[in-house]
């Protein structure tokens, strides 16, 4: 007899607990995983990527989040390599249980993480430029591929400098070879000739034999695609020390490194989808917001960090369009949504890749990059014909 009030009390407690936990669940934040190279080769650029992600998340949360849920960032270190990426992706997908992965990786890290993405069935937006043709059911790319980056430089050299012979120099790795293979094909399609195509190991710093060959071949222009960081600097220094002054297009240097190279970098042509002084309202607003948010800690936004910012907004748009966080619904939606960001309008509708506005710039004596020409809506080409 006395048991019934006890039972009701117990039942009532249970119901209240259930309601409370449901309320807690409803307020669960949306987790976006950012596996990035906090240590290793990418550690120079990683802080800027994290900052761009943070700004995007802060802005989105201020406006109410995604589908009413606040967004939180989970950053993990992928060590800029395969082994670290596996740990980072595992940790984010299976331990932290993120809703999406949005980040830039080295190609080795990306390749190592893809099987885990497939196993975990999580959308993955890859925000780094790369050698192209990486395809996965769950992956989208909002950065440029060689098909987009090479043409502006080569076309400009042909038109402006009447360049007919080209000498190609690169670091011996997938990105370096991929870029220069594409460049060679493109040059020959435009009627030019490649008089030299040389590679040095990734950690090599002595370009002497290659420079000697270059001086022997006397090309009209040089195009290089070296690994980021030290190889860019050593090659440029040694070229200048040897007195080489032909038009020089660098496919793999960013504004920041160019600035730090000082007077040696003057005159180098670079091509990318972002430079800090792009004159559009969207970019100016973005730069102002970054400055306000990070102040003196600001790491200069660049062609690797701005796509991160835009990718988070793209994810938000895809979720809102499909009305759910369910991967099966978000994946097709990602191809249909678009976002107007600092780089212009981004829509990953071309076989998981996006047409982009590419900028041809030249490094000035004071280290800044002057935009010489811009090319709208450059097509990424056929990257993943097997996927739709």
């Amino acid at each position: 007899m006395k048991a019934i009030p006890t039972l009701i009390r117990q039942a009532g407690t249970l119901v209240m607990l259930a309601m409370a936990s449901h309320a807690v669940l409803a307020a669960d934040p949306v987790k976006i995983g950012v596996p990035v190279g906090l240590s290793g080769a990418n550690s120079v650029v990683a802080p800027s990527v994290v900052q761009a992600a943070q700004l995007a998340v802060d802005e989105i949360n201020a406006k109410g989040g995604i589908l009413g849920r606040q967004v939180s960032l989970e950053v993990a270190d992928d060590g800029s390599g395969a082994a670290g990426a596996q740990k980072a992706f595992d940790s984010l997908i299976f331990d932290k249980k993120v809703n999406a992965l949005i980040s830039m990786e080295t190609s080795a890290a990306r390749n190592a993480g893809l099987p885990i993405v497939t196993r975990g069935k999580v959308p993955f937006i890859y925000t780094s430029f790369y050698e192209g043709r990486s395809c996965n059911r769950y992956m989208y790319v909002d950065a440029w591929v060689p098909d987009q980056q090479v043409a502006p430089i080569v076309d400009y050299f042909v038109k402006q400098y009447h360049a007919k012979t080209f000498f190609l120099i690169g670091s011996d790795y997938a990105f370096g070879r991929g870029m220069l293979d594409f460049t060679k094909t493109y040059i020959e399609k435009q009627g030019g000739k490649v008089v030299g195509n040389e590679y040095l190991p990734m950690d090599g710093s002595d370009w002497t034999p290659i420079i000697s060959k270059l001086q022997g071949a006397k090309p009209d222009a040089i195009i290089t695609s070296t690994a980021g960081g030290a190889p860019n600097v050593t090659l440029t220094k040694q070229l200048r020390a040897a007195g080489v002054r032909v038009p020089y297009g660098n496919l793999a240097v960013d504004e920041g490194t160019a600035k730090s190279m000082g007077v040696d970098a003057e005159g180098i042509y670079i091509s990318g989808s972002y430079v800090t002084n792009i004159d559009t309202p969207a970019n100016k607003t973005f730069m102002a917001a970054m400055q306000k948010r990070f102040g003196s800690d600001l790491k200069t936004p660049n062609d690797l960090s701005v796509p991160e910012y835009e990718a988070i907004y793209l994810y938000k748009a895809a979720v809102e369009k499909s009305g759910s966080f369910d991967t099966a619904k978000v994946i097709p939606a990602l191809a249909q949504v678009s976002f107007d960001g600092p780089r212009g309008t981004i829509q990953m509708s071309k076989q998981r890749h996006t047409p982009l506005t590419m900028y041809l710039g030249q490094v000035q004596a004071n280290g800044s990059v002057k935009v010489i020409q811009s090319f709208k809506n450059v097509d990424p080409g056929a990257q993943c014909p097997a996927l739709k």
Partner: protein
């Protein structure tokens, strides 16, 4: 053709400068100092500090010498000395030290690549061709280093004691020579040399926390084929460095990067003394 010859000469000079410090340590102490790369890096950052302080580049050389020497003292006392009887362990400990120094430099200076302006820019006409001025200067520097070391080893009392210790340590100690002091001074000098080499190569390369690592294996192999003789090191630098340039130029630079290591390993298999006199 002349360019190729200059390439070989200048490459040999650079290899000699980078390896001389390692040779001193190996010749006297019979251990390979795997933190050699870290000392190279320290020297590179010494020139960064000098550049930030607004001084001329040539101040980096004494700065690097001093920093290398002091750091060498600490390393010899705390890491190398306890491991004298365990040469393989000394390799590991110095390798670990290299990791530590790299991480500390990263923490202090950040992982980014630093630039140091070259003291001498551009190419100069030389024997009818244009060639990088700084590289030519380095040939002169290599000769200077060789002469300085030669004088140190052959013309000073410490040098005499060092040669005695190299030839027969037990006997030298029996004659009253403090082999501990000789080894201490040798290590510090070798470290200072490595640091100086690091600052000397910055005009041709960039400065980043890992700049010394690619040099370790090459320098290491050169020292192994040279035993303890400066002359052998010069010969080895010319022969193996020349081979590297030839392979890089006529085959491809990737194989060229491997030339020194592979050739040295095979040479040592058939002639364990290498280039040293038997």
């Amino acid at each position: 053709m002349l360019n190729l010859g200059l390439d070989i000469a200048t490459t040999a000079a650079i290899l000699f400068i980078v390896s001389a410090g390692l040779l001193m340590v190996f010749g006297v102490m019979k251990i390979i100092n795997f933190s050699h790369g870290a000392f190279l890096t320290v020297g590179g950052y010494a020139s960064v500090i000098v550049a930030h302080a607004g001084l001329g580049w040539w101040w980096s050389v004494p700065c690097a010498l001093a920093v290398g020497f002091v750091l060498g003292m600490l390393v010899e006392r705390f890491i190398v000395r306890p491991l004298y009887a365990r040469p393989l362990d000394a390799i590991l400990a110095t390798w670990g030290l290299g990791i530590i120094v790299g991480q500390i430099i990263t923490l202090i200076f950040g992982r980014g690549v630093q630039m140091v302006a070259s003291p001498v820019d551009g190419a100069v006409p030389f024997l009818g061709t244009q060639y990088s001025a700084y590289r030519l200067i380095l040939v002169g520097v290599a000769v200077l280093v060789a002469l300085a070391l030669g004088w140190l080893v052959n013309g000073t009392r410490l040098g005499l004691q060092t040669r005695a210790v190299i030839m027969n340590e037990a006997l030298a100690r029996g004659l009253g020579i403090s082999s501990a002091r000789v080894r201490f001074m040798t290590f510090c000098t070798g470290a200072a040399l490595a640091s100086t080499a690091g600052c000397l190569i910055t005009p041709l390369a960039s400065v980043d926390p890992n700049m010394g690592v690619p040099w370790i294996v090459g320098a290491f192999m050169l020292v192994l084929v040279s035993g303890s003789s400066l002359v052998s090191l010069a010969v080895a630098s010319l022969v193996l460095g020349g081979a590297q340039v030839l392979v890089s130029t006529f085959v491809n630079p990737v194989l060229g990067g491997l030339t020194i290591a592979v050739l040295a390993a095979v040479l040592l298999r058939f002639r364990p003394e290498g280039f040293a006199r038997g």
